[in-house]
Protein backbone atom coordinates (compact mmCIF):
# COMPACT_ATOMS: atom_id res chain seq x y z
CA UNK A 1 0.00 0.00 0.00
CA UNK A 2 1.06 3.60 -0.57
CA UNK A 3 0.81 6.33 2.01
CA UNK A 4 0.44 9.79 0.47
CA UNK A 5 1.19 13.12 2.11
CA UNK A 6 0.57 16.59 0.71
CA UNK A 7 2.37 19.39 2.52
CA UNK A 8 -0.57 21.79 2.78
CA UNK A 9 1.73 24.64 3.81
CA UNK A 10 3.22 24.41 0.31
CA UNK A 11 0.18 23.39 -1.75
CA UNK A 12 -1.32 26.28 -3.75
CA UNK A 13 -4.17 24.16 -5.16
CA UNK A 14 -2.90 24.41 -8.73
CA UNK A 15 -4.54 21.06 -9.40
CA UNK A 16 -1.90 19.59 -11.73
CA UNK A 17 -1.98 16.34 -9.75
CA UNK A 18 -5.67 15.96 -10.54
CA UNK A 19 -4.88 15.29 -14.21
CA UNK A 20 -2.39 12.55 -13.35
CA UNK A 21 -4.21 10.73 -10.54
CA UNK A 22 -7.87 11.79 -10.46
CA UNK A 23 -8.82 8.91 -8.16
CA UNK A 24 -6.51 10.23 -5.46
CA UNK A 25 -6.53 14.01 -5.93
CA UNK A 26 -9.45 16.36 -6.57
CA UNK A 27 -10.40 20.00 -6.16
CA UNK A 28 -13.46 20.55 -3.98
CA UNK A 29 -16.22 23.10 -4.54
CA UNK A 30 -14.03 25.80 -2.99
CA UNK A 31 -11.21 24.91 -5.39
CA UNK A 32 -9.13 23.49 -2.53
CA UNK A 33 -7.16 20.29 -2.95
CA UNK A 34 -8.51 17.17 -1.30
CA UNK A 35 -6.86 13.79 -1.48
CA UNK A 36 -7.12 10.20 -0.38
CA UNK A 37 -4.17 9.45 1.86
CA UNK A 38 -3.72 5.85 0.75
CA UNK A 39 -3.53 4.09 -2.62
CA UNK A 40 -2.90 0.56 -3.81
CA UNK A 41 0.61 -0.39 -4.95
CA UNK A 42 -0.63 -0.66 -8.53
CA UNK A 43 -1.25 3.09 -8.57
CA UNK A 44 2.37 3.95 -7.79
CA UNK A 45 3.11 5.20 -11.30
CA UNK A 46 0.11 7.51 -11.22
CA UNK A 47 0.97 8.86 -7.79
CA UNK A 48 4.60 9.35 -8.80
CA UNK A 49 3.44 11.22 -11.90
CA UNK A 50 1.22 13.44 -9.76
CA UNK A 51 4.12 14.15 -7.40
CA UNK A 52 6.39 14.93 -10.36
CA UNK A 53 4.07 17.51 -11.92
CA UNK A 54 3.33 19.37 -8.69
CA UNK A 55 4.70 22.90 -9.17
CA UNK A 56 5.20 23.26 -5.43
CA UNK A 57 6.68 19.74 -5.09
CA UNK A 58 4.35 19.27 -2.13
CA UNK A 59 3.43 15.61 -2.70
CA UNK A 60 5.38 12.73 -1.17
CA UNK A 61 4.53 9.06 -0.84
CA UNK A 62 5.97 5.94 0.75
CA UNK A 63 5.29 2.23 0.37
CA UNK A 64 4.02 0.80 3.64
Amino acid sequence: MLEITVDMTKCQHYGQCVFEAPNTFRLNDDDKLEYTATAVDGDEELIAAAADVCPMQAITFVRV
Partner: protein
Protein backbone atom coordinates in the same frame (compact mmCIF):
# COMPACT_ATOMS: atom_id res chain seq x y z
CA UNK B 1 23.17 -1.25 -30.13
CA UNK B 2 22.94 1.64 -27.74
CA UNK B 3 25.25 0.98 -24.81
CA UNK B 4 26.02 4.46 -23.53
CA UNK B 5 23.58 7.30 -23.20
CA UNK B 6 25.02 10.68 -22.18
CA UNK B 7 22.70 13.40 -20.91
CA UNK B 8 24.28 16.85 -20.67
CA UNK B 9 22.45 18.91 -18.06
CA UNK B 10 21.72 17.69 -14.52
CA UNK B 11 18.47 19.59 -14.54
CA UNK B 12 14.77 18.83 -14.35
CA UNK B 13 14.97 18.00 -18.07
CA UNK B 14 17.98 15.72 -17.56
CA UNK B 15 16.36 13.89 -14.66
CA UNK B 16 13.03 13.42 -16.42
CA UNK B 17 14.82 12.10 -19.51
CA UNK B 18 16.71 9.52 -17.47
CA UNK B 19 13.46 8.43 -15.83
CA UNK B 20 11.57 8.29 -19.11
CA UNK B 21 14.33 6.25 -20.75
CA UNK B 22 14.17 3.63 -18.02
CA UNK B 23 10.37 3.61 -18.19
CA UNK B 24 10.63 3.11 -21.97
CA UNK B 25 12.85 0.10 -21.38
CA UNK B 26 16.27 1.55 -22.19
CA UNK B 27 18.96 -0.75 -20.77
CA UNK B 28 21.99 1.35 -21.76
CA UNK B 29 24.19 2.94 -19.14
CA UNK B 30 23.08 6.51 -18.43
CA UNK B 31 25.55 9.23 -17.46
CA UNK B 32 24.41 12.75 -16.62
CA UNK B 33 26.93 15.57 -16.83
CA UNK B 34 26.09 18.80 -14.98
CA UNK B 35 27.86 22.12 -14.61
CA UNK B 36 26.34 22.89 -11.20
CA UNK B 37 27.57 20.98 -8.15
CA UNK B 38 23.99 20.00 -7.21
CA UNK B 39 21.77 17.06 -8.11
CA UNK B 40 18.69 18.14 -10.11
CA UNK B 41 16.65 20.66 -8.14
CA UNK B 42 13.51 22.73 -8.59
CA UNK B 43 14.18 26.27 -9.78
CA UNK B 44 10.81 28.09 -9.56
CA UNK B 45 10.95 28.56 -5.75
CA UNK B 46 14.28 30.39 -6.04
CA UNK B 47 12.51 33.71 -6.69
CA UNK B 48 9.67 32.85 -4.31
CA UNK B 49 9.87 30.71 -1.17
CA UNK B 50 13.68 30.53 -1.12
CA UNK B 51 14.07 34.28 -1.44
CA UNK B 52 11.45 34.97 1.24
CA UNK B 53 13.08 32.40 3.50
CA UNK B 54 9.88 30.33 3.77
CA UNK B 55 11.96 27.39 2.54
CA UNK B 56 15.64 26.58 2.45
CA UNK B 57 17.52 25.58 -0.69
CA UNK B 58 18.17 22.06 0.59
CA UNK B 59 14.45 21.31 0.14
CA UNK B 60 14.68 21.90 -3.61
CA UNK B 61 16.29 18.65 -4.71
CA UNK B 62 13.98 16.39 -6.70
CA UNK B 63 13.44 12.89 -5.31
CA UNK B 64 15.56 10.33 -7.15
CA UNK B 65 13.28 7.39 -7.90
CA UNK B 66 14.48 3.79 -7.88
CA UNK B 67 14.34 3.73 -11.68
CA UNK B 68 17.32 6.09 -11.87
CA UNK B 69 19.33 4.59 -9.01
CA UNK B 70 21.97 3.31 -11.47
CA UNK B 71 22.45 6.66 -13.21
CA UNK B 72 25.96 8.06 -12.98
CA UNK B 73 25.93 11.75 -12.01
CA UNK B 74 29.04 13.73 -12.97
CA UNK B 75 28.47 17.09 -11.31
CA UNK B 76 30.34 20.38 -11.21
CA UNK B 77 31.83 20.05 -14.68
CA UNK B 78 30.35 21.85 -17.68
CA UNK B 79 30.41 20.44 -21.19
CA UNK B 80 32.72 22.58 -23.31
CA UNK B 81 32.79 20.74 -26.64
CA UNK B 82 30.87 18.24 -28.74
CA UNK B 83 32.70 16.21 -31.39
CA UNK B 84 29.99 14.58 -33.48
CA UNK B 85 32.36 12.56 -35.69
CA UNK B 86 33.99 10.90 -32.70
CA UNK B 87 30.75 10.93 -30.64
CA UNK B 88 32.36 12.51 -27.62
CA UNK B 89 31.63 15.38 -25.29
CA UNK B 90 34.51 17.10 -23.53
CA UNK B 91 33.93 18.60 -20.11
CA UNK B 92 35.67 21.56 -18.52
CA UNK B 93 38.17 19.38 -16.67
CA UNK B 94 39.33 17.92 -20.01
CA UNK B 95 37.62 14.54 -19.62
CA UNK B 96 36.14 13.01 -22.78
CA UNK B 97 32.74 11.34 -22.49
CA UNK B 98 31.96 8.92 -25.34
CA UNK B 99 28.34 8.20 -26.18
CA UNK B 100 26.10 6.20 -28.48
CA UNK B 101 23.20 8.55 -27.85
CA UNK B 102 23.40 12.14 -26.61
CA UNK B 103 20.70 14.24 -24.96
CA UNK B 104 21.28 17.99 -24.82
CA UNK B 105 19.55 19.38 -21.72
CA UNK B 106 21.78 22.34 -20.92
CA UNK B 107 18.88 24.76 -20.50
CA UNK B 108 19.34 28.49 -20.33
CA UNK B 109 21.25 30.99 -18.24
CA UNK B 110 20.12 34.37 -16.99
CA UNK B 111 20.85 37.01 -19.58
CA UNK B 112 23.30 39.67 -18.47
CA UNK B 113 23.58 42.93 -20.35
CA UNK B 114 24.25 45.57 -17.70
CA UNK B 115 25.50 43.44 -14.82
CA UNK B 116 28.74 41.51 -14.58
CA UNK B 117 29.10 38.01 -13.16
CA UNK B 118 31.43 37.78 -10.19
CA UNK B 119 30.53 41.18 -8.75
CA UNK B 120 28.83 40.44 -5.40
CA UNK B 121 26.25 43.23 -5.66
CA UNK B 122 25.28 42.46 -9.28
CA UNK B 123 22.94 39.50 -9.13
CA UNK B 124 20.74 37.37 -11.33
CA UNK B 125 18.31 34.60 -10.33
CA UNK B 126 18.65 31.28 -12.08
CA UNK B 127 20.64 28.95 -9.87
CA UNK B 128 21.03 28.09 -6.20
CA UNK B 129 24.40 29.84 -6.20
CA UNK B 130 22.76 32.98 -7.61
CA UNK B 131 20.31 33.07 -4.72
CA UNK B 132 23.05 32.24 -2.19
CA UNK B 133 24.76 35.39 -3.45
CA UNK B 134 21.65 37.57 -3.28
CA UNK B 135 19.73 36.35 -0.24
CA UNK B 136 22.10 37.55 2.55
CA UNK B 137 22.11 41.04 1.03
CA UNK B 138 18.34 41.42 1.34
CA UNK B 139 17.85 43.00 4.76
CA UNK B 140 15.21 45.43 6.01
CA UNK B 141 16.00 48.79 4.43
CA UNK B 142 18.30 47.39 1.75
CA UNK B 143 17.91 49.37 -1.48
CA UNK B 144 17.29 46.86 -4.27
CA UNK B 145 17.04 47.83 -7.93
CA UNK B 146 15.54 45.16 -10.18
CA UNK B 147 16.24 45.52 -13.87
CA UNK B 148 13.39 43.92 -15.84
CA UNK B 149 9.69 43.69 -15.04
CA UNK B 150 8.98 40.21 -16.37
CA UNK B 151 7.94 37.28 -14.22
CA UNK B 152 11.24 36.85 -12.36
CA UNK B 153 11.55 40.59 -11.78
CA UNK B 154 8.02 40.84 -10.38
CA UNK B 155 8.35 37.74 -8.19
CA UNK B 156 11.66 39.04 -6.86
CA UNK B 157 10.03 42.39 -6.09
CA UNK B 158 7.17 40.73 -4.19
CA UNK B 159 9.46 38.38 -2.26
CA UNK B 160 11.87 41.19 -1.37
CA UNK B 161 9.14 43.55 -0.14
CA UNK B 162 8.12 40.80 2.27
CA UNK B 163 11.61 41.11 3.76
CA UNK B 164 11.31 44.87 4.23
CA UNK B 165 13.60 45.63 1.31
CA UNK B 166 13.19 48.97 -0.52
CA UNK B 167 12.42 47.87 -4.08
CA UNK B 168 12.61 49.77 -7.36
CA UNK B 169 11.77 47.96 -10.59
CA UNK B 170 13.07 49.37 -13.87
CA UNK B 171 11.23 48.01 -16.88
CA UNK B 172 11.11 48.84 -20.56
CA UNK B 173 7.39 48.14 -20.89
CA UNK B 174 5.10 50.50 -18.94
CA UNK B 175 2.84 47.70 -17.70
CA UNK B 176 4.59 44.63 -16.33
CA UNK B 177 3.30 41.20 -17.37
CA UNK B 178 0.79 42.59 -19.88
CA UNK B 179 2.05 40.40 -22.69
CA UNK B 180 1.72 37.28 -20.51
CA UNK B 181 -1.55 37.96 -18.69
CA UNK B 182 -3.34 40.69 -20.64
CA UNK B 183 -4.00 44.28 -19.63
CA UNK B 184 -6.59 43.84 -16.89
CA UNK B 185 -4.78 41.17 -14.90
CA UNK B 186 -1.50 43.04 -15.37
CA UNK B 187 -3.14 46.14 -13.91
CA UNK B 188 -4.32 44.16 -10.89
CA UNK B 189 -0.77 42.93 -10.31
CA UNK B 190 0.65 46.43 -10.85
CA UNK B 191 -1.75 47.87 -8.26
CA UNK B 192 -0.75 45.17 -5.77
CA UNK B 193 2.94 45.98 -6.23
CA UNK B 194 2.17 49.68 -5.81
CA UNK B 195 0.20 49.03 -2.61
CA UNK B 196 3.11 47.00 -1.32
CA UNK B 197 5.40 49.98 -1.82
CA UNK B 198 7.31 48.86 -4.91
CA UNK B 199 8.51 51.81 -7.00
CA UNK B 200 8.36 51.24 -10.75
CA UNK B 201 10.16 53.21 -13.44
CA UNK B 202 9.67 52.87 -17.19
CA UNK B 203 13.11 53.41 -18.64
CA UNK B 204 16.18 51.69 -19.97
CA UNK B 205 19.35 51.17 -18.02
CA UNK B 206 22.37 52.74 -19.68
CA UNK B 207 25.13 51.99 -17.20
CA UNK B 208 25.94 50.54 -13.81
CA UNK B 209 28.70 52.06 -11.72
CA UNK B 210 29.87 49.68 -9.00
CA UNK B 211 32.83 51.03 -7.09
CA UNK B 212 34.01 49.59 -3.80
CA UNK B 213 33.11 51.54 -0.66
CA UNK B 214 30.19 53.28 -2.42
CA UNK B 215 26.61 52.32 -3.24
CA UNK B 216 25.95 51.01 -6.74
CA UNK B 217 24.69 53.62 -9.18
CA UNK B 218 22.21 52.59 -11.86
CA UNK B 219 22.03 55.13 -14.68
CA UNK B 220 18.84 55.34 -16.75
CA UNK B 221 18.28 56.75 -20.22
CA UNK B 222 16.03 59.51 -18.83
CA UNK B 223 18.96 60.87 -16.82
CA UNK B 224 17.86 59.39 -13.51
CA UNK B 225 20.53 57.82 -11.34
CA UNK B 226 19.32 55.22 -8.84
CA UNK B 227 21.32 54.38 -5.75
CA UNK B 228 21.33 50.71 -4.84
CA UNK B 229 22.87 48.40 -2.29
CA UNK B 230 22.24 45.47 -4.60
CA UNK B 231 21.03 45.03 -8.18
CA UNK B 232 19.14 42.11 -9.72
CA UNK B 233 19.10 41.83 -13.48
CA UNK B 234 16.05 39.87 -14.67
CA UNK B 235 15.82 40.47 -18.39
CA UNK B 236 15.25 36.96 -19.67
CA UNK B 237 17.49 34.10 -20.63
CA UNK B 238 19.98 32.79 -23.15
CA UNK B 239 20.24 29.15 -24.25
CA UNK B 240 23.41 27.35 -23.20
CA UNK B 241 24.61 26.28 -26.62
CA UNK B 242 28.16 27.71 -26.73
CA UNK B 243 29.61 24.21 -26.44
CA UNK B 244 27.74 23.14 -29.59
CA UNK B 245 29.22 25.71 -31.97
CA UNK B 246 30.88 24.23 -35.03
CA UNK B 247 28.82 21.02 -34.98
CA UNK B 248 26.50 22.02 -37.84
CA UNK B 249 23.50 21.89 -35.50
CA UNK B 250 20.91 24.64 -36.01
CA UNK B 251 21.50 26.96 -33.03
CA UNK B 252 19.53 29.99 -34.15
CA UNK B 253 17.38 29.82 -31.00
CA UNK B 254 18.59 27.08 -28.70
CA UNK B 255 18.80 23.66 -30.34
CA UNK B 256 16.38 23.12 -33.23
CA UNK B 257 14.68 19.72 -32.97
CA UNK B 258 11.93 17.89 -34.82
CA UNK B 259 8.80 16.54 -33.15
CA UNK B 260 10.84 13.51 -32.05
CA UNK B 261 13.21 15.85 -30.18
CA UNK B 262 15.99 14.90 -32.65
CA UNK B 263 18.56 17.64 -33.22
CA UNK B 264 18.50 19.24 -36.67
CA UNK B 265 21.35 20.58 -38.76
CA UNK B 266 21.16 24.01 -40.35
CA UNK B 267 20.09 22.29 -43.60
CA UNK B 268 17.15 20.71 -41.76
CA UNK B 269 18.50 17.16 -41.76
CA UNK B 270 18.31 15.02 -38.62
CA UNK B 271 21.39 14.31 -36.53
CA UNK B 272 20.91 10.64 -35.67
CA UNK B 273 21.27 9.85 -31.98
CA UNK B 274 21.47 13.45 -30.79
CA UNK B 275 18.41 14.83 -29.01
CA UNK B 276 17.52 18.00 -27.11
CA UNK B 277 14.95 18.54 -24.36
CA UNK B 278 13.81 21.26 -21.98
CA UNK B 279 14.39 25.00 -22.11
CA UNK B 280 17.20 24.69 -24.66
CA UNK B 281 15.08 22.78 -27.18
CA UNK B 282 13.23 24.63 -29.92
CA UNK B 283 10.52 22.15 -30.90
CA UNK B 284 7.59 22.51 -33.28
CA UNK B 285 4.45 23.37 -31.34
CA UNK B 286 0.86 23.18 -32.63
CA UNK B 287 -0.14 26.49 -30.99
CA UNK B 288 2.46 28.14 -33.23
CA UNK B 289 1.05 26.18 -36.20
CA UNK B 290 3.95 23.80 -36.11
CA UNK B 291 6.62 26.49 -35.99
CA UNK B 292 9.53 25.80 -33.67
CA UNK B 293 9.74 27.71 -30.45
CA UNK B 294 11.41 27.38 -27.11
CA UNK B 295 8.84 27.32 -24.33
CA UNK B 296 10.48 27.81 -20.94
CA UNK B 297 7.50 26.52 -19.00
CA UNK B 298 8.13 24.15 -16.15
CA UNK B 299 5.95 21.31 -17.44
CA UNK B 300 7.63 21.12 -20.85
CA UNK B 301 10.83 19.20 -19.95
CA UNK B 302 8.87 16.21 -18.66
CA UNK B 303 6.83 16.10 -21.88
CA UNK B 304 9.94 16.48 -24.03
CA UNK B 305 11.60 13.71 -22.06
CA UNK B 306 8.78 11.24 -22.72
CA UNK B 307 8.86 11.94 -26.43
CA UNK B 308 12.65 11.78 -26.68
CA UNK B 309 12.75 8.49 -24.77
CA UNK B 310 10.11 6.91 -27.03
CA UNK B 311 12.15 7.79 -30.11
CA UNK B 312 15.54 6.94 -28.58
CA UNK B 313 14.60 3.35 -27.73
CA UNK B 314 13.16 2.69 -31.21
CA UNK B 315 15.32 1.08 -33.91
CA UNK B 316 16.75 3.66 -36.31
CA UNK B 317 14.40 2.60 -39.09
CA UNK B 318 11.32 3.22 -36.97
CA UNK B 319 12.30 6.59 -35.56
CA UNK B 320 11.00 8.69 -38.44
CA UNK B 321 7.54 7.25 -37.89
CA UNK B 322 7.65 7.87 -34.13
CA UNK B 323 8.97 11.40 -34.63
CA UNK B 324 6.21 12.29 -37.06
CA UNK B 325 3.39 12.35 -34.54
CA UNK B 326 2.77 15.83 -33.18
CA UNK B 327 4.15 16.37 -29.71
CA UNK B 328 1.52 18.50 -28.05
CA UNK B 329 1.96 19.20 -24.38
CA UNK B 330 -0.25 22.02 -23.15
CA UNK B 331 2.23 24.57 -21.76
CA UNK B 332 1.42 25.50 -18.19
CA UNK B 333 2.85 28.13 -15.88
CA UNK B 334 2.11 29.77 -12.57
CA UNK B 335 3.26 32.64 -10.44
CA UNK B 336 3.03 33.45 -6.74
CA UNK B 337 3.25 37.14 -5.79
CA UNK B 338 2.01 38.36 -2.40
CA UNK B 339 -1.28 36.48 -1.87
CA UNK B 340 -1.83 36.19 -5.65
CA UNK B 341 -1.54 32.73 -7.17
CA UNK B 342 -2.03 32.78 -10.91
CA UNK B 343 -2.29 29.71 -13.16
CA UNK B 344 -2.11 29.67 -16.94
CA UNK B 345 -2.38 27.13 -19.76
CA UNK B 346 -1.45 27.45 -23.39
CA UNK B 347 0.40 30.47 -24.77
CA UNK B 348 -1.72 33.55 -24.00
CA UNK B 349 0.87 35.82 -25.64
CA UNK B 350 -0.12 34.31 -29.00
CA UNK B 351 -3.69 35.57 -28.66
CA UNK B 352 -4.82 38.88 -30.10
CA UNK B 353 -7.82 39.36 -27.81
CA UNK B 354 -7.99 38.76 -24.05
CA UNK B 355 -11.59 38.21 -22.93
CA UNK B 356 -12.99 37.87 -19.43
CA UNK B 357 -14.55 34.41 -19.16
CA UNK B 358 -15.58 34.25 -15.52
CA UNK B 359 -15.23 36.29 -12.36
CA UNK B 360 -16.58 36.30 -8.81
CA UNK B 361 -17.14 38.72 -5.93
CA UNK B 362 -13.85 37.72 -4.30
CA UNK B 363 -11.97 39.38 -7.16
CA UNK B 364 -11.01 36.09 -8.79
CA UNK B 365 -11.14 36.06 -12.55
CA UNK B 366 -10.39 33.92 -15.56
CA UNK B 367 -9.39 35.32 -18.94
CA UNK B 368 -9.20 33.57 -22.28
CA UNK B 369 -6.62 34.56 -24.88
CA UNK B 370 -8.23 34.23 -28.29
CA UNK B 371 -6.82 34.24 -31.77
CA UNK B 372 -9.96 34.80 -33.79
CA UNK B 373 -12.37 32.35 -32.17
CA UNK B 374 -9.65 29.95 -31.08
CA UNK B 375 -8.71 29.76 -27.41
CA UNK B 376 -4.89 29.70 -27.41
CA UNK B 377 -4.40 30.40 -23.72
CA UNK B 378 -6.20 30.77 -20.42
CA UNK B 379 -5.08 32.77 -17.38
CA UNK B 380 -6.75 32.62 -14.00
CA UNK B 381 -6.38 34.42 -10.72
CA UNK B 382 -8.07 31.97 -8.37
CA UNK B 383 -11.02 29.99 -9.79
CA UNK B 384 -8.89 26.90 -10.33
CA UNK B 385 -11.66 24.59 -11.50
CA UNK B 386 -12.67 27.07 -14.19
CA UNK B 387 -9.05 27.37 -15.38
CA UNK B 388 -8.53 23.62 -15.36
CA UNK B 389 -11.76 23.14 -17.33
CA UNK B 390 -10.52 25.52 -20.05
CA UNK B 391 -7.33 23.54 -20.47
CA UNK B 392 -9.31 21.00 -22.50
CA UNK B 393 -10.41 23.78 -24.82
CA UNK B 394 -6.81 24.91 -25.37
CA UNK B 395 -5.91 21.30 -26.11
CA UNK B 396 -8.76 21.21 -28.60
CA UNK B 397 -7.32 24.26 -30.38
CA UNK B 398 -3.93 22.56 -30.45
CA UNK B 399 -5.39 19.39 -31.92
CA UNK B 400 -7.07 21.35 -34.68
CA UNK B 401 -3.95 23.40 -35.41
CA UNK B 402 -1.83 20.25 -35.29
CA UNK B 403 -4.08 18.56 -37.79
CA UNK B 404 -3.62 21.41 -40.25
CA UNK B 405 0.05 22.14 -39.56
Amino acid sequence: MTERILIVGASLAGLRTAEALRRAGATASITVLGDEPHLPYNRPPLSKAILTGADTADTLQFPLRESVADVDWLLGSAAVDLDLDRARVTSADGTEHPFDQLVIATGVRARRVHTVAGRPRQCVIRTRDDVDQLRPQLQPGTRLVIIGNGLIGCETAASSRGLGVEVTVVGRSPLALERLFGRELAEIFAARHRDAGVATITAQVTDIVDLDEAPVQVHLDDGTVLTADVVVEAIGSEPNTDWLHGTGIDLRDGVAVDAGMRALRTDGSVVDDVFAVGDVASAPHPLAHGARRRIEHWNMPAEHAKRAAAVMVAPLAERDARARATVAPVPSMWTDQYQFHLLSYGLPALGDDMRLIESNDAGDRVYGAYRGDDLVGVVGLGMRSAVLARRAEVLHTMTRYGATA
